[in-house]
Symmetry: C2
Subunit: 329 residues, 2 copies
Amino acid sequence: MRSPKSRATPRGGPETGGGNRGEFVAIERLRRRLPGPPAGQVWIGDDAAVLGTTEGRVVLTTDVAVAGVHADLGLIGLDDLGWRAFAAALSDVAAMGARPLGAVVAVAGPPTTDLDLLYDGIAASSEAHHCPVVGGDLSNSSELAVAVAVTGEVDGEPGPVLRSGARPGDNIFVTGPLGGASAGLRGLRDRGGAGRDGSSEAVALETAHRRPRARLVEGETARRSGATAMIDISDGLLADLGHVADASGVGFRLDRVPVAPGATIDDALGGGEDYELVVVAARPERLAAAFADAGLRPAILIGSCSADPAERTLDGKPTVALGWQHSWG
Amino acid sequence: MRSPKSRATPRGGPETGGGNRGEFVAIERLRRRLPGPPAGQVWIGDDAAVLGTTEGRVVLTTDVAVAGVHADLGLIGLDDLGWRAFAAALSDVAAMGARPLGAVVAVAGPPTTDLDLLYDGIAASSEAHHCPVVGGDLSNSSELAVAVAVTGEVDGEPGPVLRSGARPGDNIFVTGPLGGASAGLRGLRDRGGAGRDGSSEAVALETAHRRPRARLVEGETARRSGATAMIDISDGLLADLGHVADASGVGFRLDRVPVAPGATIDDALGGGEDYELVVVAARPERLAAAFADAGLRPAILIGSCSADPAERTLDGKPTVALGWQHSWG
């Protein structure tokens, strides 16, 4: 978070103004509610945040969430939007096998935006993922957009896990059952909003949509155990695994896809936004042992990579990538 | 830049859609026009960018620019908005005495946004500041917002230069004449847009507004020469120096403020967005020698810090912080 400064054109800038007074008040309030840095670090309040030292590789990523595009605020809260935006950026860090050092949050939105509610979700996501909010910026805008950027590190060997490292014969895993977020969103639509169904299955699905978890420990554990390729499932298993296949020049044969209770196989294949990881590994026994040692639930074997890039099958039948490609038409 | 993935809610997401098809095409085009990474780094195309190793302190900052708030697109181009957003984020890195490692750019905007023109300015700013664009995200939104996040490093000693280190008796410098950006904006308003006045002074002022430079070399040189406090001038000299005084618990006495040719003293004191640095130094001769050794134009002595935090004078008269405070009413 910046200290009370503004990028607004001062003194005769466009009449819409930068909301400086509101920015000042909001930043002071947000600053008080977020945890402060350990000794030797500087977070909110100077020109840039100063994080710890690292001797590893530095990673950087950003994700933007827009109200009405990435979250239907008729169905979930601004706090959920904040949580999801934060988790989505962290999920990209997880997919490299990296550890987050800190995140900054840039918010552009109408002056009427309930920043406290938005930051409730951001702060909760920050705490749950052990990644501090170290700075940010605020501006007026007619539509709410939240951009989260995270920097992190990959210390030691092996290095970051790219999409391009999968080889024929490698095994393909996912870190959990899929389709929950998609089924949860459908349930919210059917019921017209959150919290209107008491069944534990419905609540679990709703939570999968509203409060997804970035698989940071899983990603780092997979890297250390020699994963050859990795990606997070944001667009849907087939679409995201397709990116790995494209980048690696391999095909894939799936024979089992774990479906979250209450979700459908279509949700699991194309639903997206589960933020589980696809982990490709040449030595599955090392992956299993590392996950067990870390106290993680076992990664789930779903298939293997093949040499023919055109081969993309489930139970021997060709797959069609669902998910984001649906909106190409 | 992300590879062709999207955070849009797939399959039945809000009908506004995530603009995935457009995102795919735009990202591929932008990726081709931006320089690629050196061996061992990964920029656009994986889940997160992988930068170099560092053994120093990691810094992180973000700045958001909104069309109509931070830039009047009736007066300057989308390329200028892109340049300015990028430079503003880098200026925060400069004000820590840090070196940028890479930047990510999150863009939310209408589908009609001329992304090529926007990225012309971002790419030019990236090249001019020697800071690569290593990733980003795109989304639909009704209003254009550009959030730039930069990570960097502070290697060796001394550490990052904070706002809070100024001490009574320290000298106060600026890295260049002030008020040009403000006067340039006024000139653009008077003439109704860019490029309509051939005088070299008018062009220089207009450029100061459209294409400000972050003082990265100056900031790092000042840190190495023992600067005690530093801030970039985004809101106006008096406002930003006021932040240093507040954080350090000192006052200031100014006796000379350098005014850009064609600008007024009010522009220089309160205009903001010049992105020159305020450098506070206990040993001005070290600063002067370091700037000379680095081939930089000399930093300009404008006054000194005093022990009384309430003392904030210019030529012995009390100052009133201009700039962003004007819009508090």
